[in-house]
Amino acid sequence: MTRTVVVVGHGMVGHRLVQALRDRDAEGAWRVVVFAEEGRPAYDRVALTSYVDDWDAARLELDGARYAGDDAVALHLGDPVTAIDRAARAVTTASGRVQPYDALVLATGSAPFVPPVPGRDLPGCHVYRTIEDLDAIRASVERARTGVGRGSAMVVGGGLLGLEAAKALRDLGVSPHVVELAPRLMPLQVDDGGGALLKRLIERLDVTVHPGTSAAAIEADRGRLLARLANGTELDLDLIVFSAGIRPRDQLARDCGLGVGGRGGIVVDAACRTTDPAVYAIGECALADGRVYGLVAPGYAMAEVVADRLLGGAAEFTGADMSTKLKLMGVDVASFGDAHAATEGALEVVVNDAVAGTYRKLVVSDDAKTLLGGVLVGDATDYASLRPLVGRPLPAEPGALLAPAGGGGGVGVGALPDEAQICSCNAVTKGDIRGAILEQAADDVPKIKACTRAGTACGSCVPMLKQLLASCGVEQSKALCEHFTHSRAELFEIVRATGITTFSELVARHGSGRGCDICKPAVASILASLGNGHILAGEQAGLQDTNDRFLANLQRNGTYSVVPRIPGGEITPAKLMAIAQVAADFGLYTKITGGQRIDLFGATVDQLPAIWRRLVDAGFESGHAYGKALRTVKSCVGSTWCRYGVQDSVGLAIELELRYRGLRSPHKLKSAVSGCARECAEARGKDFGVIATETGWNLYVGGNGGTLPRHADLLVSDVDKETLVRVIDRFLMFYIRSADRLQRTSVWLDSIEGGLDHVRDVVVHDSLGIAEELEAQMAEHVTGYADEWAGVLADPEKLARFTSFVNAPGAPDPTISFRAERGQSVPVPLGIPEVVSR
């Protein structure tokens, strides 16, 4: 016989219960009746803040939340339960309906806690929990807009929810003040050190933080609100949002005599049963194991337990992981395990890097052998690999584990046992995922998601899923994109061997579809490396990224920057004056770059040819600041002037820059020449760097500044100039042939099989017998070089592409405007920048 389960509350957890029950109740043992207080089906409350992006409530609705086509579920929206009669086993609703039940599940969630501040009920005071709350906040902001200046708001509470609210307010164009009683932000998740850094990072984003104080009183003041803080600060505000914590909604349970905790919450046992065996409570209204869980994952776990119990199972809720990883206003915050070192004898290992803006702490057992928890602020990349290690032996010294991400310290997934939880949102272990890969043939991340649900909630475990695929021997595709199954290196060989000269022929014969923003520029670069004329000739123009297409660098407001080549950084006063005159005449912002040359910013598309006409006439060429090509060969002043110099570093730098200018490669190429071992040109930070010796030159390769600095490795030493140039020719051409798309020489050198020794074998000892070919290719480049900008100026067809509007050439783009800063023009910011929430 069919029994009836009544679910009170259609929030995230209530919905998960109905889904789990309907998924598993094959026999149709239960009919489900849901009563919802809110007037809409369950929605993604976790993503509530994203509602301000588009005000589209339908987007937040949870999948399948209307139970369309399922006759076993009746969903009554906007009809809350007002009383429970346990003796009669029936509930009464606001509309007067009386619904009998065999089992009752309370999933009423929680309500925002509003501290008893005088004035808290004034118009303009809000809470932050439902879609309707956000609509009301929006109305207040809009009212504030009619006033003068930027609106301002106070958020009471600096925890997770308070910072979410501050983000929403900032996205709405209001300056938020965050008031937090505790001495730091996110007191539940992070410790003092992490909180201090978090405050610094958040304050950079135009949010004012008031820690260690509270709102003492709120008054209406000429249509606005005046808030007095306990520390004496007064804030003049348009609106106030309370998000100072939550209180479980347990009134129904209290009224019918179920057990509730001293500080609220409906008492449940491991089966999620209340003190009445016919009544369950799940989600944020439940007090399980003495605590209320304010996160969705534990609520989901409780829903699964109750679904199992209703079908006669014996599942238990045994507490949940309170680990969190978030991106708040672009700032990474993660805490896991015993983040506050509450365990007896726990030790803390902290790396606080004020310069990098990162704070990393591990909590370990008193013998420093077991990981207990941790806090990461500023960079939470290692969260995914560290969290599963909680409660397990440390695979390395705590200090080594905290080394900056990518510094070699990080833990590989291989070190984890099968029981380690990889996805904490959905409680999926390493063993489950390996099972899916090995037994269910899940050979990519989407398939793992489908088989195990791992990675389907917050997404922070996805990098680990990729590592697990690799460790199970599943070969990760080298395909460039959906249009080519080949790697870049393979495509290079195809183009070289077949002599194909157009993208359309290549994609027709060796790929599929029409191409995209990944394969088109990659193929354009290959065609250019192999010498196929001007990069804007015919079809090639449409393959190029905007920088290459307009031979200039795109700026944030849609204008471009112009960088003339200044080989070796040496420049005559006359040429300096020519640049200065162009900058003055076109009103361009001017800056000395980090590459020993000059950048002119703020040119519109249609100004570029006129600017370059002047520069070319003054003897300048393109500097390729826009291209994946040779950028600069920096120099130090060298033996001509410097009292320590042993060789003419400027002369060599100029020679090398002129030789390799215009050379297209998988990524940009940088170089430098220093006149002695003092290394003033920083040659060892370059893709190929040269340092003078008493008897010749040392060549270093694979250096990198930027995101992940790497010192270059010595390839050959004390060679004469002719040998030096020959080795560089071969080295560069070998790299261009075999590297991946957007792979700098540093990464290529570290990933190529055999590493530096192999590269030395090929380019010095010619172990592959291709040296001659590599040299011939470079010779072709050197003789074939022509200045790209001169090429455009000489060709009316190419020039015609540099127009603002096809139907109004020369008409200025109305969105572009400038303001003055320190005597130069800079762009007026466009709109509010996009901020990511997680």
Binding site: A541, D545, F805, A811, L830
Partner: protein, 114 residues
Amino acid sequence: MTSTVPAPAWTAVCPLSAIEPETGVAALLPDGTQVAVFRTRDAVYALGNIDPFSQAAVLARGIVGDLRGTPVVASPMHKQRFDLRTGECLDDQGVSVPTYPVRVVGGTIQLGRP
């Protein structure tokens, strides 16, 4: 006194041949709106030129291609892709740019009012 002159329903923009296949150009409408007009191998599309992520008027300068058969343009600013037919962003659900009616009459591209 004010009077309303009905705007013509279609504005001629440029000859079809002015757009290289698989690229786009920007056009300025009389009211100051900027439209990105794209020509693929077999069709012409028109979207708002403003990239909603950066607010810069640059979509016409993006790379045209396809994503599992859907014709798309990738914003040159930060590479989000937009469906050329509907204006919807395929990388960020819920974000979209306006689309404009577009047709080719006698070799000339014409834009309609949205």
